[in-house]
Symmetry: C2
DNA sequence: TCCTCGGACTTAACCGCATTAGTGCGCTCA
DNA sequence: TGAGCGCACTAATGCGGTTAAGTCCGAGGA
């Protein structure tokens, strides 16, 4: 009656429990529990013996049982809300996840990773995870200016760390360089106090502008990503501020927004190059658009960097396979993930909701940026 | 005594349990369990009432409790063994994961996704997940010719589906077109009978060769990926078979292996173009190498496709941002993920270990392939 | 009329671990 | 000398479900 291929299925080996350990070590189950969890109540001798037996048996705590009694699921969640099409050309997320897991796996904490279509589904998923007690906390990515998630998570009491927030870091920790009185946006105070790790986009933008300004560029356009995202707005604001600091004309140094796709990146580039006075330098908010923009320039016979300089915000293999190779802003993304994971663990351990800052990115100058051409 | 930012932390709302439902519905806890799990033993009336109350309370089963008693973790695992550097330029994985989750989330099954450095760590992780009963099964990616994972998983009794295996589909389901007596490799029989979803790389390769052969190309090199991977070997074998079928010279139609990186893809391309009789067409095993190869050609002033045709195995935004846009083999990767997830669920439900085949990819002809130049 | 049968529930046991409340024992000290 | 104490350990309970084993009751058959 068994289907082909089913016949040989072996009976799964029974996994050892603390009861097995208790029997072999000649103690009670609770003594085993004490011994294995570093709690007082057992002698050094017994503790060592129990540990040895557990080792021999290859015992690992049943995560469900531990979760049920210990009130900890031993898992964290990360949801990525992205339409399926736009998925995966960026290296950012896998690297972030990789960094996060480096921290988690050392503490035997699992990561539930889920890709969903939109923000609504993401919120529904948080509710479900919360109700099912699947996770002890979540890492929130792609914070937005109008974001329902912090409020939801606060209401649920689900510990969280926002990666890439807050919308206005200046309001939390005033940027020493930001002499210009950049008024904190009205929603800054309204944000529930979730723990946050953030990157100093203002300083990063300053570095890019230093580089381009130093090369003589005065007409610089920033091809940004999705307008709703917090870091997009932050970068746009930073560009304005930094341009003003250098006395640059706001009509020639400005941002345009896209959906991060190669198609919109290319389209934006075409429009920019069609203008009466096209920019001499373009900053793209991700690697994919930068490559697409470079291809557009190549298609029109516009030499890079002789006639147009290009900078990619975020490095990846892509930036090295184009011709010429792209000058890019290099971030330690796995490091950022590690930082976020550590913060979340700290919150779970009862720590305060802090706002910590990731390492500053640096600009890797390659062949796509050069001196500004003379008109 | 509370740290700043901690003061406002709300007491988490208590999540409802079946006990709450039982009280409100005026029945016992087990009646609730029966009602909510579609088991006989309660009247239609009671069932409806219990359901309504559960709905009102927003009840969701505590996954830990269910796992503990029901022997099902309600989660599956997927491990990606990749060195951190090579992470994330391919769109394949996120799309695969997205497809998998489409199937899983409908059944409220979570996915544990983990990125590790190597195969040894991956195996250790399977052991841990098994011992901790974290997952009910796993999806195995990147099968290799010498792969310790199937044996381990079989020994553990951890249900699994291999994505992209087996090494020799011909041995399982003879390819009708494969008239050439391609001897099944020795390890084919040694493979434990894990469930498998696979793509017909032989047919895909045939399509690519049809295209290139039809354009007159007779010197074709396949820049393959990592030599240890099953699908790499399969594609290499397919190229040989298909070349022989068309009477092509094995010295001019051959494969070289790389590590999938842009660097090795570019390096391989340089070597090929340096040869006395360089190929007139190159097939790259992923999009990143194809783009890198195109850049090398551009750097040497070799026009594509006038002097060199290029095909990418796997499509992505990358193939559309180069100049010219790359002819690519388009696969329905999310669909492949859905298929794999369905197979694993079938196995968990006691089904047989089948070997099912994914949809055939098609070749999207773009501007990077053209008629073979005359020598 | 009595007994049986089965549907609709309830009770109780259990999953594997953490944790709290004992228990027995040797030692100290009034 | 016996109350008091601390230590090492055991017994018992609970987490929130599932499930096997009753219990109750009304309908149907002999």
């Amino acid at each position: 009656m068994t289907a082909p291929g089913e016949a040989a299925r072996p009976k799964p080996a029974r996994r050892p429990t603390i009861k097995d350990i208790a029997r072999r070590a000649g103690v009670s189950e609770s003594a085993v529990s004490f011994a294995l969890n570093d709690r007082p109540g057992v002698s050094q001798d017994t503790r060592a013996r129990v540990r040895r037996v557990a080792e021999e048996l290859g015992w690992q705590a049943n995560s469900a049982a531990r979760a049920l009694s210990g009130e900890r699921a031993g898992a964290l969640g990360l949801v990525l809300a992205r339409p399926a099409q736009t998925l995966g050309v960026e290296s950012f997320f896998l690297q972030l996840v990789s960094g996060i897991q480096e921290v988690l796996s050392a503490r035997k904490i699992a990561l539930l990773f889920q890709v969903v279509e939109d923000l609504g589904t993401e919120c529904a998923l948080y509710r479900r995870w919360w109700a099912e007690r699947r996770v002890d906390g979540v890492l929130v990515v792609d914070p937005r200016t109008e974001d329902p998630r912090p409020q939801l998570l606060t209401a649920l009491g689900l510990p969280a760390v926002v990666i890439g927030g807050p919308a206005a870091p200046a309001a939390v920790a005033p940027h020493p360089d930001a002499a210009a009185p950049a008024a904190p946006p009205p929603d800054a105070a309204a944000q529930p106090p979730l723990a946050t790790v953030w990157a100093d986009d203002a300083k990063a933008m300053a570095r890019i502008l230093d580089h381009l300004y130093g090369l003589g560029h005065r007409r610089i356009v920033h091809v940004a990503g999705l307008p709703g995202l917090a870091h997009t707005e932050r970068r746009i604001r930073s560009l304005r501020t930094e341009a003003a600091l250098r006395g640059l004309d706001a009509r020639h140094v400005r941002s345009v927004t896209t959906d991060y796709s190669d198609a919109e990146g290319a389209e934006a580039t075409r429009r920019l190059l069609d203008a009466a006075r096209p920019p001499t330098a373009i900053i793209y908010d991700n690697d994919v658009m930068a490559v697409a923009g470079t291809a557009v320039a190549a298609g029109r016979g516009i030499p890079v960097p002789a006639a147009l300089s290009i900078v990619a915000w975020d490095d990846s293999a892509l930036c090295r396979v184009t011709h010429p190779r792209l000058t890019a802003l290099v971030r330690d993304t796995p490091g950022f993930g590690r930082l976020a994971a550590q913060e979340l663990l700290a919150v779970l351990d009862g720590g305060p909701h802090r706002t910590v800052q990731g390492e500053l990115p640096h600009l890797e100058a390659r062949e796509s940026t050069g001196p500004c051409p003379h008109d």
